[in-house]
Symmetry: C2
Subunit: 429 residues, 2 copies
Amino acid sequence: MGQNVLEQLNEEQRLEVKRQVRLYAHGAQEVIPSEELELKVAQSVLEGRPLKIKLGLDPSAPDVHLGHTVVLKKMRQFQDNGHIIQLLIGDFTGKIGDPTGKSVARRALTDEEVEHNAKTYFEQFGKVLDMEKVELHYNSKWLRTLSFEDVIQLAGKITVARLMERDDFEERTALGKPISLHEFFYPLMQGYDSVVLKNDIELGGTDQHFNILMGRHYQEKFGEPKQVALLMPLLEGLDGVEKMSKSKNNYIGIDEAPRDMYGKAMSIPDELMGKYFELVTDLSVDEVEKVKADLASGALHPRDGKMRLAKTIVRMYHDEEAARKAEDDFIAVFQKGALPDFMDEVVFDFEAAGVGEKKSSGAGNSVRVLVLLTQLNLFHSNSEASRMIANGGVRINGVKVEDDKARVEVTDEMIVQVGKRKFVKVRVG
Amino acid sequence: MGQNVLEQLNEEQRLEVKRQVRLYAHGAQEVIPSEELELKVAQSVLEGRPLKIKLGLDPSAPDVHLGHTVVLKKMRQFQDNGHIIQLLIGDFTGKIGDPTGKSVARRALTDEEVEHNAKTYFEQFGKVLDMEKVELHYNSKWLRTLSFEDVIQLAGKITVARLMERDDFEERTALGKPISLHEFFYPLMQGYDSVVLKNDIELGGTDQHFNILMGRHYQEKFGEPKQVALLMPLLEGLDGVEKMSKSKNNYIGIDEAPRDMYGKAMSIPDELMGKYFELVTDLSVDEVEKVKADLASGALHPRDGKMRLAKTIVRMYHDEEAARKAEDDFIAVFQKGALPDFMDEVVFDFEAAGVGEKKSSGAGNSVRVLVLLTQLNLFHSNSEASRMIANGGVRINGVKVEDDKARVEVTDEMIVQVGKRKFVKVRVG
């Protein structure tokens, strides 16, 4: 490769490369090395050869939520331009589980479970990607066949010091927490997968920084062209703080009902709206830039912006009709008086709740739902509140609270509903 | 196991255990844990069950010298008491070589080379051990069959921090020198070999401390009784400083001719005589203790002591007749005037030779042979001296100098011979 690929392009090709590079880089947090993305695209345009884009998937967590769609949407952009998507199911590690036996969560998956999970991925990914054009790979196919000698050859191509640079290894070493030797193999396997797949680009969240660079390392050691790392930002969940995940219960699942999806989207902190537009909607680059500018200038009211966001998300995962209906319902309940004529307004005092002062950024004002409910004097005790949640009797902005361990973002004018008839409007103190 | 094994012994058994433990511990530098050796022997005596004693061998270095016999003689003691010797040829690693490709010396051995080297070991070990009773194992038999999954399971049973405790890893980390990940597997494999062999004791030099303890670690992880580590001291070579090894050319090979063996033994520094008696001769524990005491009290003259040592060594690897003849020759040449009536005495001045002052300990007065020869004015230049050595024309105390890079221990009254007729007697200045 090298600079001279760019010099061989004609004017039309040059514009096409520019267009694609702008599209792929949009919303990405890091492209490593940034200049090579252009070279890869240029080579593809020049030779009329599609690029291979790899995405690794953990086979143990098949519930797809909006956080996952950040990379899926990026994949879709590549797919729309004729490139080849390689979905890699990391079933080899999934089937091993945790060899130390310490992590109960990381138990070994059976072949059937892996297959079932992959199928679930497939069904859900179909909402973002054209699955007919996707290549599906299972890394057990090649990793299972490696002998001890092969493993030693692989291990001989990396130093201990290099592996110790991974953030979590470095942190644990600093804290004196043990690292089991087998953990060193996960980045190594991910790197070797790229050698086998011969992919041009690997996508992932920024938390995959180290592992994806292993792909470059191993491709080079095996004399293959090196992949470019395209790292997408991690999407904060509804609490505005933690990475969206099922375990934190701060997620919008792409299989959720239109009403829940819409209501949850309305609870996203204002400050994150632009990021959500950019990372999880199908608006064009130009449309996203306009929304962001209008929000910044005040030309677009935050509530209207968020309603557009919520409607767009429902439309993407259901349809136009469902999106319109979800919006109508929301307006009917929260804006046109389907709510009681008179509602108690209760001030939520962050300091009294023992969670510190309200942060000026707006994001990060999340509290445990039990703290919220007792602080608003809706229940006398946590256990009473927990029971009502378990019975499905608590809603926030119309969305049912499923888990008494959930955290919620406390916003002004938030509506908390207990049972059929009790409503309070929250005022942030 | 546990203390109560000892309580079950009758008086006769108790004495037998005591006798064996004294024998095995004699000359050992470390027994880890020291109390478990007695328990292993007691169990063996109580149940009439032989112990399994493992010794790992590097298949790439089949030239056996006295340094190797330190552990071999210890093995022989176990064998003489009915225990089972397990010689483990580490052919798996030998066949892999150096996967980083950096070490030219560590090239991969072929099956034929491994077999040839093992045969060479076998022939030479026969001079110390009863090879008919020895179990021979090749670790490729089980290591080759391990899958990647098996390797991950093994790796899951050890932490990175524990491996980093190995002296050389710690040193290299401190110096910023890279450790290749595959190097972590060598101690791990050695540990796993003990799981497979189910040995009770593993023997080795003190440089094997870490690797042998890995055997205990892995046996425990696999639910097996843990081996005892029996670590023998490393034998300094003829220079009195470095560990005896072929590459340092400071060794006595057990295949050498009686005359060379005797002459080389006579060049051992006085201070090491006791250690040699203890570690490489077949004298009984009591005899060794007596020689040491006599040397310390002056009842035994160092030269007479060394002649006894030299004669014993020749007798062990040849026979009584050859030993007597080697002694006679030595006396004829160096003591009864087969030497010229008049010999120049030349003072060797350590300071002038640029190697510092003569050390009072006696050991460690070694210099490069070329420095010695030019300093004694026997040659005008190093290249002239090198040529004569290459032609086999230089002898020290009657032993031909084979290598112009060799180091020699400079002792008072040492005889240096050049060609057929030129002799000088060295005086240490």
